[in-house]
Subunit: 152 residues, 6 copies
């Protein structure tokens, strides 16, 4: 098939191994939303607990969201949210683990993005000028290429 | 990660084994719908065949419906519907089988619920005061915790 | 077309009106889960907040879950959970509102069922012999047939 | 369970083997669309690249589209499109590969159909009297029944 | 935006009108499957009733399957299946109706294709060399461009 | 209902008006991926065309991704990608338009995020240390609160 075609690349020759990825991202929310978050709640509810749910669901939906991603069984999805008061932001960290023939970087990134958008959705009645930034892959491990950590 | 977070728990350390679950549930439909069902058809079509289809599709959608459920390959999904004339009800029984690292109780229950709601949807032009009741897990087997049967 | 066919009935001749439905259901959880719920948390997290999320998502997925249901825009979905200590149960109430040509009974019922199954999923590490019961439509209003309340 | 019931048949006793299927299909587009396609673009964009994307996504959605199909991990999905000027048509060929307990014929066919419908969607502003024809399974291999090629 | 981009074209300036489309298609099943169909059942169940369900669900999923299609409310979806013994085939006809700013041709075609693939799925244990052919739009009406019928 | 509950807020009292949102975001890809992009292609295909498709699909999936978002009909979705060589990045801009009771900010942001993740997915074989940054809402208009532009 012509190399310029879109295709889901064949991973059939790869080993089923335990693979893990961790991604992160930040939403800068400003002082007013930050004040609410320190109380643990926005008018539409606790955004961090809802972000956890959205992250787990998004990790499972990755092959539907990103056309060339393989459908995968996932062993674990978790999200950690941290208030970062010095920059009036929330930092999120998603971990995804699978036992599969290909990695879960995109699943971890999709989880991070869904979590950040969920926090956005609950924050926007208070502040419209939000910013998502600093979305990065921190770690991937498992598979032939071995462990990789973000250089920073 | 904080124990109060929502997360998809890590099943990576569990064995892939054949696991099976059977769930049941009842919809009480009243005399008028029951009379139709004994003829095998409601005005909108045969509800029991449609319930079988809805049950199979719902079992496959479980990880999308229930946020903390793992995406799983399913080996088998089947639904049995029985008219229970003495209580003017339909009893449904769903069986789900997988070869996976976690069980399929929620898949069997999701299948039961979708089947009962489908019967509801076709019965409601005739009777609005329907009731779903008696939704239970009857059996689970496979995996470390072994076979469990409902005590009743 | 043959009347025994499955089909999505034509609602094109109906008026777009505000329509509302309220449904309820109960999950009997037993003493051990009840003790946890009175503390507000199960080992896998707060089941009631998660049930709210699952209910909203399920209401939106109704046309995908129930084959003959019409795709609808929804104006509002909300879920109320109440601990019912005397029967060691959680009672849930879902309200769905639309501005559409057909009602939202099935959306309210799908929300109730997803909420109850979510509570089940978080309760099952503690108690396997759970029961869903008492799933009913309490109210529908809007449209030509007017207001209907459950006779009980 | 009664043999006339719809069910997802139990494949738990089958071996996990590498399985492959190739399907094909044709859309006859007529002279005006053909002239555009020879330039590589329709007014709404390049239909063949979009068809590749739709095919990959459809292969992944097969268990959701076809009620009795098993959810499967897919190792590879690819689509090849060929202009067939002599009949003013586009021929598409989809290849799907899995490592699973059941084959991927329906996934390959779902990919072909989604590709053809996507070309249709982009061609219809120019020509409404399009035709899909010649949708066939060309090859399946892997599993107990071995290799099968279309007799033509 | 550059005209060669993929985009969902803006239909905001069009009128909401009642729009209808009818599409057709054929699956050639051969003598052995035809003999079963005349009895009304294949070993995996009645394929025509299941095709109706798959068609309705597929019409609702069209915006998810075909990237550039608009999400639409649907007023009606129905499928008619006819055995065509002289060519050992099943002919299907799907009707879709909406009240919207754009037409439902692709929804009708998606319904036809899902119906034909469903019949294929149930027929393939008996006959692998099946063919889908003759998929056409027969009618569209409603909207500025008015009524169109297939010229044949 | 208790104000701390998650719910889809009732928009039934709002007017159906034309509403538009524009969002933006950036992926910093580094020199090696940038060199490929200037040729128009990565080894897995043209990422910008694929990003357009992912953006349109993600806008339609927003109510499924973000739990509290309303299901909406969309009149238009489009994506513009610009290579930003001075910072070795791709900037994307998504526009979403609806005629509805609530706005489409989250749809535009979901489109931006899916586009950026798609570019990531195709760039990662070349460079793992990618960064998404600068995701912002630029404009929203329509509805009671009127036109809002990002202050920068």
């Amino acid at each position: 098939m012509n190399e310029s075609n879109y295709r889901m690349v064949d991973v059939g020759g790869k080993q089923v191994t335990r693979r893990r990825a961790i991604a992160t991202g930040r939403i800068v929310v400003g002082p007013e939303v930050m004040a609410y978050l320190k109380q643990g709640e926005l008018p539409k509810g606790d955004p961090l607990r809802l972000a956890e749910v959205a992250a787990i669901l998004a990790a499972k939906k990755t092959p539907d969201l990103l056309p060339l991603c393989h459908p995968l069984m996932l062993d674990h999805v978790g999200l950690l949210c941290q208030l970062n008061e010095s920059v009036e932001a929330v930092d999120v960290y998603a971990t995804v683990v699978t036992s599969a023939r290909t990695g879960v970087e995109m699943e971890a990134l999709a989880a991070v993005n869904a979590a950040l958008l969920t926090i956005w959705d609950l924050s926007k009645p208070i502040e419209a000028a939000l910013t998502i930034t600093n979305v990065k892959l921190l770690l991937k491990e498992g598979g032939k290429s071995g462990r990789w950590e973000h250089p920073e």
